[in-house]
């Protein structure tokens, strides 16, 4: 994750959106870009206009402005392509499979209509990717919510889109179904060579899936950029959430059979987390560091149960609550890798913390954002 400029234009192959208009008594004015690969989250509270923006990108509803995808203009000025002429996949909140078709028929619906068609190899790949094999002969009505959503995702991908839009695809599911389907979406995001726009009001999902985030409030874009840059932007207020966390990329370098801990490289420093096995070595993982789990010390504690102690520099200090301060930290030697600490005003005064100070951050628990998902509120 790099601190690239938020206002940079869309990379070739990416998504470039600038839409404005009224939906009922609600004004939307949103402009953002998304790169050609990876998940861009459209985040905001319910009723903030996320779905309206997504529908307008698909052409299902009409707003004024511009939509460009992979160098192709879907909408600009008088030009307005209807949805069926836009090469997009749309996964709706509820699975909305065609009840008059089988699972196979649903998958074939989009595939048959995609220009160039879908060959057997690609079909096989999508079926394997989403583990749809066992579902093929089942009636749509007999599928569970999670299974339906997997079929809907497969159907969207098999129409060979150049942009995948997902409108809170997990919101109708219970926790068990969410945990079951999230790994599939993760694999998808890693394997698909197209931009994915993922609408959600659930930060836990976004921490797991997104590479970038567009923060929407009252129909306007409040911020957009790399995920961690937004999560640790003290001005955006994520830090006020009790579960506020940073999400950082780290590489697994070792695994201890003795105590089950994986050792990860985070910007040149070492972090230990509950690991799953030696097969993880070499893989990139997302570390989730919760701000309220981070404490600061001038000198490293010699005897402590805390395993993860990182050298950091204070970048900024902001009020975080009545008794708390929110402190933005960067890893020593890796200024792009930022996370937050919540400390009491009294402690901060006692240590006379100030921007520029180099300290030891003791982290009570570091977890993998890809392990068991934190429960949404």
């Amino acid at each position: 994750m790099t601190a690239e400029s938020v206002s940079s234009g869309a990379a070739p192959g990416g998504l470039d959106v600038a839409l404005a208009g009224r939906r009922g008594d609600f004004a939307i004015d949103a402009a953002f870009t998304a790169p050609a690969r990876g998940v861009t989250a459209l985040f905001g509270p319910s009723g903030s206009g996320k779905t309206s923006i997504l529908r307008a990108i698909a052409g299902l509803t009409r707003l004024d402005g511009r939509v460009r995808v992979a160098g192709e203009t879907w909408q600009e000025g008088a030009r307005f392509l209807p949805p069926h002429r836009r090469a997009l996949g749309y996964v709706f909140q509820e699975a909305s499979l065609f009840s008059h078709l089988s699972v196979d028929g649903n998958l074939a619906y989009g595939a048959r209509r995609s220009p160039g068609g879908v060959d057997a190899a690609m079909r096989r790949e999508v079926i394997d990717l989403l583990s749809l094999d066992r579902l093929m002969s089942r009636a749509v009505a007999d599928l569970s919510g999670g299974e339906r959503q997997r079929v809907a995702i497969g159907r969207a991908i098999l129409s060979r889109p150049r942009l995948l839009l997902m409108d809170e695809p997990l919101s109708g599911l219970d926790h068990r179904a969410k945990d079951e389907i999230l790994p599939f979406i993760e694999r998808l995001a890693a394997g698909l060579d197209l931009p994915i726009l993922y609408v959600s009001h659930d930060l836990a999902e976004i921490e797991r899936l997104a590479d970038r985030i567009v923060v929407v409030a009252d129909g306007k874009v409040r911020a957009s950029g790399p995920l961690n840059a937004a999560l640790t932007d003290l001005g955006l207020g994520f830090v006020r959430d009790p579960r506020a966390a940073a999400v950082l990329p780290a590489r697994v370098v070792a695994f201890s059979q003795e105590d089950g801990l994986a050792e990860l490289d985070l910007g040149g420093q070492r972090v230990f987390v509950d690991g799953s096995g030696p097969e993880e070595i070499g893989l990139e993982r997302r570390l989730r560091i919760v701000a309220s789990d981070v404490s600061l010390a001038r000198a490293p504690l010699a005897s402590s149960t805390i395993l993860n102690i990182l050298g950091v520099e204070i970048l900024a200090i902001e009020p975080g609550g009545r008794a708390d301060l929110a402190i933005l930290l960067a890893l020593d030697g890796a200024p792009d890798l930022t996370f937050m600490a919540k400390v009491t005003r009294r402690s901060a005064a006692r240590l006379s913390l100030a921007p520029g100070d180099r300290l030891h951050a003791q982290i009570k628990s570091v977890s993998l954002a890809t392990s068991a998902m934190p429960r949404s509120r």
Binding site: L60, H84, F92, F98, S99, H100, G110, R113, S159
Partner: protein, 223 residues
Amino acid sequence: MIDTGDVFSALTLTLELATVTTLVLLVLGTPLAWWLARSRSLVSDMVGTLVALPLVMPPTVLGFYLLIALGPSGLGGLFGLRSLAFSFPGLVIGSVVYSLPFVVQPIRNAFEAVGDRPLEVAATLRASPLDRFFTVAVPLARAGFLTGTVLGFAHTVGEFGVVLMIGGNIPGETRVLSIAIFDYVEQLRFADAHLVAGGMLVFSFLVILAMSRIGRRIGEVRP
């Protein structure tokens, strides 16, 4: 003595009329039902009301207006005839108007029940409007089509007032079963009347039974 040739000719004419009428109604009624289901304009409300009128109007009133409409200053004149009334085409036109609500209403309700979402999904899967109408809207509304077809057919078989007004009683041309019964009773041919009336009774029973069975079977696979 029962004149089976007489009954048979009335029966084939009735089936012919009901078949042609139902086919015409499906062709005309489907787009009409689609429009009524999707439009919220005053015009569509007014057309919807017009379509429903035969449900409450006395068939003789309808028949009277049709008689005028099919006459020399109406459709009949258009085709260079004295009148379309008292002919098979005239009978078809009358039956179409009279049975219209029985076909349009179930199809319209079924289209409304389909809702926007499946069509939006189809649009995002690159189906054009016509494509998604035939591959999504129609299959999802199939229960409405079956109900409309059965009701339209049965209702045409059973119509009396309109046929009497515009069709008269020409054997082999406009003399359908319901008229035939009326005729037999007037001529005190009770055996013939029994045969036809009994047949109609069984037919009606089977129609309603079939409809409820179809409705349940299709209902099972609907979401």
